[in-house]
């Protein structure tokens, strides 16, 4: 706001005017003239948008631009890229890595990194496979055990980081190797364990499992539910805020947002129905996103995570148990890594030596960062896991459509990750210049 504070205004910061009774005017939600107020209506959006971009708040612009570029390039090279089947494929395959990215968003919000999520996801699928096939455990119970394993591993990382003071980078790098080793040991000489996929979580997460058994109502139901909850939620919020006399979102803006969501949601629904339906894995991924978004934005715990990411010392002085928040966050990351591992197992109906290896970790980190969650902590939303995964999965699906070799895929993914981090760093710098970081 540096550009505004300089502007001299009659209601400026002159302390001599302290007795000025205009303070009483606060009863009606008066807006400080120094604030760059958004004009009502559509024109206001454009001015606000321009100002934000200038200030380095790129939000989801890089993602949208990236998606358009990716879609154009691949569509020109292979006209199957924008087909319903391929897009639906992207929707299915992005869920697994997306689950890892959700956990990473938490860790990144603290300004830390978790390098072990890939290995933990592989280990999780191995644990599940072993207890189900060798010990005959009930599949749902085994799922619970698997998630608990992930949470415990994450909590262990968090404990080493928060209590012992080992940098998170090193702890999770050790985990990256160690848990991968444990997975190989569990899988034994065979290297692959096939998991029966007639029912249970693995079949639910499989490629041929769809919401409401492919009934076209399923997709529309989802889209309608999303639009309706945004509509009702926004208007309820507006009413409460208006009653309390605090600034509220104008109706025009709410309508615009709801319409935008409706267009995207129903377009996606039509697309999925043109293919085979909405994959259950994607539905679970979306439900997790909604829940986690709620946790991060609307609960004390979420506020604490942001506070620790924004200023450890300030958080500590506010009475926040920083160690507990850190351990919990790493435990959540471990839990989501384990869940993601189950998604991978669902894709292949097996636990393999390769699960969670290769570039899984890099893709998950890249997704969170591309989606707009800062590596420097304190800024981001869980939706970046969705947006980032759209980009990442489009690239890798597109590359395999073009029959690119793994070598090329790795190089491109590496470049994309670097690009995302560069955008993050540059936008942070211009945000600092604009006094917003």
């Amino acid at each position: 706001m540096s550009d505004t504070t300089k502007t001299p205004t009659p209601k400026g910061t002159v302390p001599a005017a302290a007795e000025d009774p205009t303070a009483a005017a606060v009863a009606a939600p008066a807006v400080d003239p120094r604030l760059l107020v958004r004009e009502e209506g559509f024109k206001g959006y454009i001015t606000e948008f321009k100002r934000k971009v200038k200030g380095g708040e790129l939000g989801s612009i890089p993602v949208v631009v990236g998606l358009i570029v990716i879609a154009t390039v691949f569509q020109l090279n292979n006209d199957r890229f924008l087909s319903a089947d391929n897009l639906s494929n992207i929707g299915y395959y992005m869920a697994a890595t997306g689950m890892l990215a959700i956990g990473l968003v938490f860790v990144l919000l603290l300004g830390e990194i978790d390098l072990s999520v890939g290995s933990v996801s592989g280990l999780a699928s191995a644990v599940f496979a072993v207890v189900v096939t060798k010990h005959g455990m009930d599949a749902w119970l085994a799922l619970l055990l698997t998630i608990v394993t992930g949470v415990a591993i994450g909590a262990l990382h968090g404990w080493f980081f928060a209590r012992i003071g080992v940098p998170a980078f090193v702890v999770t790098l050790a985990g990256f190797l160690g848990w991968n080793g444990l997975m190989l040991w569990l899988l034994g000489s065979s290297g692959t364990i096939n998991i029966p996929s007639d029912d249970g979580p693995v079949s639910l997460l499989g490629k041929s499992s769809f919401l409401l058994d492919q009934d076209i109502v399923g997709a529309y139901l989802l889209a309608g539910l999303a639009v309706l909850s945004l509509l009702v939620g926004s208007f309820m919020d507006q009413r409460r805020r208006r009653a309390a006399g605090v600034p509220f979102r104008p109706t025009s803006e709410i309508v615009l947002r709801v319409v935008a969501l409706a267009v995207v949601a129903f377009a996606a629904a039509v697309m999925f129905n043109n293919s085979a339906g909405v994959p259950n894995a994607l539905v679970i991924f979306l439900v997790c996103l909604v829940i986690i978004d709620f946790v991060l934005r609307r609960t004390s715990f979420g506020r604490k995570v942001f506070a620790v990411g924004g200023g450890v010392e300030a958080a500590r002085r506010a009475g926040i148990n920083v160690e507990l928040v850190r351990i919990t966050v790493f435990a959540i990351a471990g839990g989501f890594a384990a869940l993601g591992g189950m998604f991978f197992a669902g894709q292949t109906s097996s636990a393999t030596m390769l699960a969670g290896g290769g570039n899984t970790l890099m893709l998950a980190i890249a997704a969170a960062v591309i989606g707009g969650t800062s590596l420097f902590g304190g800024r981001g939303t869980v939706w970046s896991a969705l947006l980032g995964m759209l980009v990442i999965q489009s690239i890798s699906t597109g590359l395999s459509l073009l029959n690119m070799e793994a070598s090329i895929q790795y190089m491109i993914t590496g470049a994309v990750l670097l690009g995302a981090v560069v955008i993050d760093s540059v936008s942070r710098r211009s945000q600092k210049a604009a006094g917003r970081a």
Binding site: T13, D32, R240, P247, F306, A307, G310, A318
Partner: protein, 263 residues
């Protein structure tokens, strides 16, 4: 000054504190009444910070009595002090840059409604609080990073008031501020007094002390070195108490200047 009650809200009697071989505080007395601004002054290492940390519960005292509204209490951890109604505003690192003003004001004691953060009530109350303190901030929904140093300091002080404290400790609130921001903070200190709060103000700046304090408590080498009512005490007397002598570089210089002026 408004009414000053007979029983001090907070009183330290014979407080002593050792750190290893160092006797940081020796038999220190301090009284703070409701509606009184007590400036705590002293040279570096005089024990100001130790005394404040003792009151805030960061470093409990070894000997002596802390009295709260006339009855002895024990403050052994920061939580005890907060429970009693002592709020401490540190000079730095008090706010989270990425959270907005409302988020910072309520950090660690968020209001909840059915288990969910009650943003509307928090925003409403934050606006009320800021307006009763005549604090002008462009919007309570912009991140702290977008505020100036002075605005941050007043937000930090306002934050201390959320818990309805009776004593507010300000640790060099104007140390890093410009002229205008300093004036804002001093205005705010006066408003705290008008609300009947006891304020302990640590400052190296005599002009600030003279401007807002009612009483000056001087510490020197971990001991009381006089408590003065501000309006009857000259600048030089306070300086003399701080430095521990009437004959020192500061008074010699002042003397030289008066004799020169007399010529």
């Amino acid at each position: 000054m408004i009414h000053v009650s007979a029983t001090p809200v907070l009183a330290l009697r014979g407080a002593s504190k050792r750190f290893g071989a160092v006797q940081a505080l020796t038999d220190v007395h301090l009284e703070v009444h409701a509606g009184e601004v007590v400036a705590l002054v002293g040279d570096n290492g005089a024990g100001k910070s130790t005394l404040v940390k003792a009151i805030a519960g960061v470093h409990p005292i070894d000997e002596g009595v802390v009295e709260w509204e006339g009855r002895p209490v024990s403050i052994s951890k920061p939580h005890d002090a907060q429970e009693l109604g002592v709020a401490t505003v540190y000079q730095d690192l008090a706010l989270c840059d990425n959270l907005d003003v409302v988020g910072n004001l309520y950090l660690g004691r968020e209001l909840r409604r059915r288990g969910v953060l009650d943003e509307v009530t928090m925003e409403q109350k934050a606006r009320e609080l800021l307006s009763t303190l005549s604090i002008r901030i462009p919007s309570v929904r912009i991140p702290i990073a977008g505020l100036s140093g002075g605005q941050r300091q007043v937000v930090a002080i306002a934050r201390a008031l959320i818990g309805d404290p009776k004593i507010v400790i300000l640790d060099e609130p104007t140390a890093a501020l410009g002229v205008e921001q300093t004036a804002q903070v001093l205005d705010l200190v006066e408003r705290l007094r008008e609300r009947g709060l006891g304020v302990i103000l640590i400052s190296h700046n005599m002009a600030d002390v003279k401007a807002v304090a009612d009483t000056v408590a001087v510490l020197r080498l971990g001991k009381n070195n006089g408590t003065f009512p501000v309006k009857d005490t000259s600048h030089e007397e306070i300086i003399a108490a701080i430095t521990g002598a009437t004959d020192n570089a500061v008074t010699r210089r002042a003397e030289r200047r008066t004799t020169e002026a007399a010529k």
